[in-house]
Symmetry: C2
Subunit: 308 residues, 2 copies
Amino acid sequence: MPETGMNYAESCRAFTEDLIAHQVLISQGAKGLYGFGAAMELVIAAIERIITAAGVREKPEVMRFPPLISRRNLERSDYLRSFPNLAGSVHSFGGGMDDHTKLLQHLDRNEDWSRGLEATGVVLAPAACFAVYPVLTGTLPATGRLVDVVSFVFRNEPSDDPTRLQVFRLREFVLAGDARACRIHSQRWAERGMDLLRSLGLPVEAQAASDPFFGRTGRMLAANQRDQELKIELLVPICSEEQLTACASCNYHQDHFGRAFDIHTAAGDPAHSACVGFGLERIALALFRHHGFRTGSWPESVRRQLEL
Amino acid sequence: MPETGMNYAESCRAFTEDLIAHQVLISQGAKGLYGFGAAMELVIAAIERIITAAGVREKPEVMRFPPLISRRNLERSDYLRSFPNLAGSVHSFGGGMDDHTKLLQHLDRNEDWSRGLEATGVVLAPAACFAVYPVLTGTLPATGRLVDVVSFVFRNEPSDDPTRLQVFRLREFVLAGDARACRIHSQRWAERGMDLLRSLGLPVEAQAASDPFFGRTGRMLAANQRDQELKIELLVPICSEEQLTACASCNYHQDHFGRAFDIHTAAGDPAHSACVGFGLERIALALFRHHGFRTGSWPESVRRQLEL
């Protein structure tokens, strides 16, 4: 259980120390960047199995993606308009021998050696579904397309909160189709997600939420998103009983990605889309928090549910 | 089987088209960047199982890492000295509203919007073992430490060769210990790797090799590496019968990483290290090349070996 009598920062620090001491997380020398021990990986594989089971009836197409997407696809997505501060751009060295000598001089003097690097054709994936939309470009079948996807994703937000990683695994079911089907997809997965997390012995509540849009216009976008209930988060207490952590979110994008990636319904309209995203590390950390650091001591019902 | 009568580039193009047509690979709009279909993922999971089985007797510590490492750890590793052109540095936007307006202006004009970005504290992992060495800092037990590790890794080498991905999964067994144990580790895994690949019906040959060190001094380092047989590659014909593809490599690093990351033997000397690395996508692509695009039609012995 989350500890009481500590503020959020203290609670995060204490939980992180425990996770490292029990080899659930492995320190990597940067905020929000951790390796994962054997128990953590077994739990994440188990969570993936029950998510698969929850979605298998609708026979999604299975796609898996590496942690990078093309720069062009990030640009098309409008992510840089709304979340420039969270994006990760991959740069590399394209110079000759003299440039290399300079780079090494900077390195040896503990100076920034990255100034002379050039942008490559790839960027870090901000969410697993960003790799899916370009694949769906074109005309959808009448029932739309449903994709089961997972990838490591990146958010530039170094934090001492062990549930706020810079790079983590997002498992998503993405639907592209008409507006009604997408609304239903989002709502249905909100219910399924609640059931799934409850079945793991986690206290969970659903709440209309908004993304952390950048800047002044961002505040309007966020208010609009909340008013229209476009985003529902499934929240679990992890680091604190007061400040809950989103372990999954259900998102209805209207026709944003349909327009950006030229995805059309059979009727010729820009497709709507919706996705549910499960934060695999967060769900696993919630389990370690609520049931203890040794999976062998977890409640029998949870162990059975996870086939541990 | 690799096709004959085509040059390497033609053969690569034809194989890539086939892989995409059979939904083994999913085009992502950048060279060397692909998603993976359901069959590809099942095959990779199966390859992971037999690699686990090949290494389980020695009871390695299991660590899993995300695709990023800390910038500081890349700097300590000396990777930028030897392979600056292959490294990937993660940059992000740290500006205010006005800077954002400028970024969007560049974006809207199809200009490079990445100039104003700042280096973050993280970089892409060049190999899975780079995350391991900092964890081993300190004094090793008398028998050393053996780690079973996997992560997505990045190489900035966009290519039309489907076996030369920019981002791919590397499964490694890393030993840090004394010189003798490391030499044995490397040689033993060369034999095991040959057996493993042969058991999958793949023609394989071992060869002393070198890493693609940068520049003039790099050529000397490469020659030295080859002369001392510090690197052994396990090669399989994939895109061509003549130009083989390394599906695994066994590397003895002498005390390079021991010195860089302050890892010491029980006797107080800088530790030596060695690793075997299996390129999971390459092995899977070799199987699709040699046994066909439908796993259901693969030879019974291979299907049994992979538990498909």
